[in-house]
Every structure is written in C-alpha cells, then in structure tokens.
Symmetry: C2
C-alpha cells in the first residue's frame, strides 16, 4: 500500500475532508491527496506555517513535564486542521471544513499514523 | 460573576480537568483555577510556550485564506490542552488528563469564551 492509498482512505472515511498529507517538519509534503475545494483555500501556505510551529513545539516539549506532543489541532473560521506525529521527521495532516467530522478525523489519524510509519 | 467562577465552572463540568486559565498572549495568566495534579505537572511552563506559539499563529493566519484561528489544541502523552480565543489580547486554556472528556472540553470552552469576553 502506498502513502497515497492511505491518504485517500483517510479523506474518504472522514466527512468534510478537504485534504490529507504526509509532511516533513521542514514543511515539504511527501505526498498529498486533496479535492478541488482544498486547492482554492491554498492549504499549502497554512501547512508550511504549521510545520514550522510544530517543530518549535516539539523542541519546547522536551523541557516540559507533560510528555511528548503527539497531536496538534489548529481550527480557524473555515478550516479545521488536525496533525499527528508519525515519526521524529514526519507528521500526518488532515484538513476538514469547519462543519466536518472532527472526532472521526482524530480517530482515523490515530489509526493511520502507525500504518504510515511502517512504510517510511 | 468573576473570572474565577467561570474557570471553576469549566473545571467542574469537564471530566478529567486539571486546570483552566484566562491568559494574555504575553504568557501571563490573568486568573487560574487548578487542582493539585496540575501543580505537579508544572502546566505554567507549558502554557507560556503555547501562548508564544499561539501569538505567532495569529500573525501567520492573517496571510492565510483559512480565516482567523479560533481554537488550538496541543495533545501530549499525559495532558490534552485546549485553547480558545477570547479577544485579540486574551485566550482561555483548559488542560485535561489524557483520558479526559475532550469533546466536552471543546464544547464548554466555546460557551464560556463569550462570557469571559463580556467581562474583560
């Protein structure tokens, strides 16, 4: 199973999905599955910013007592963004419309992260 | 009703709550309600880091097409942290144990933010 198949499967399972991607902490997407709505929203611009913040967070987390950061979510007026750590270099990101199924999104990312990790 | 009363009410309503606070984007808490478990985890250290990231995010969001950031969540091994924008200067933050009621936490923060805003 390729990355793309996993990403398509996430988008198909979660209502309101716009796009799902495997990204490096350098902000470069390894692979992406997105629909037309996602292209209009220029999600890539947002994700590059988020990757930068996420890598800062991981550094901050090293000195915190709350344990390693595993999941981050950034929700704006039009788009909900869920990110989940896959490995020390990569994370999964899923963008949903504001009315998308957020709980299902979290659940499906949690299941998918170890499958992606196994193929890295 | 004081800030403290609202914060206590959030902690009482959400199972697994550790602490709830009104914070400025400068990382300084205006008011906090926390239990003993929260003190051990040194949540303040985490929150100051998160406030810094949140203020960067808001600046980034200005150039994005996804709309203003309203809610951010940072989930680590031991603690789930939900943050919700109250005003351009302040946000609400709720920390939960990893097995806390995350969905209820999001819901209660959404209801509480406008009540806090009305008293700022």
């Amino acid at each position: 199973m390729s990355f793309r198949t996993h990403l398509e499967s996430v988008v198909n399972q979660v209502d309101g999905s716009l796009a799902c991607s495997v990204m490096g902490f350098d902000g470069i997407a390894v692979d992406t599955h997105q629909n037309e709505e996602a292209i209009e929203l220029d999600l890539n611009g947002a994700w590059i910013e988020y990757a930068n913040l996420l890598s800062q967070l991981r550094q901050a987390a090293e000195v915190l007592k709350t344990g390693e950061v595993q999941e981050v979510s950034i929700n704006s007026e039009r788009v909900l963004t869920l990110m989940r750590l896959v490995s020390p270099e990569y994370f999964l990101v899923l963008a949903l419309r504001a009315d998308g199924n957020y709980g299902k999104g979290r659940y499906v990312l949690r299941l998918t992260a170890p499958r992606i990790r196994a193929e890295l």
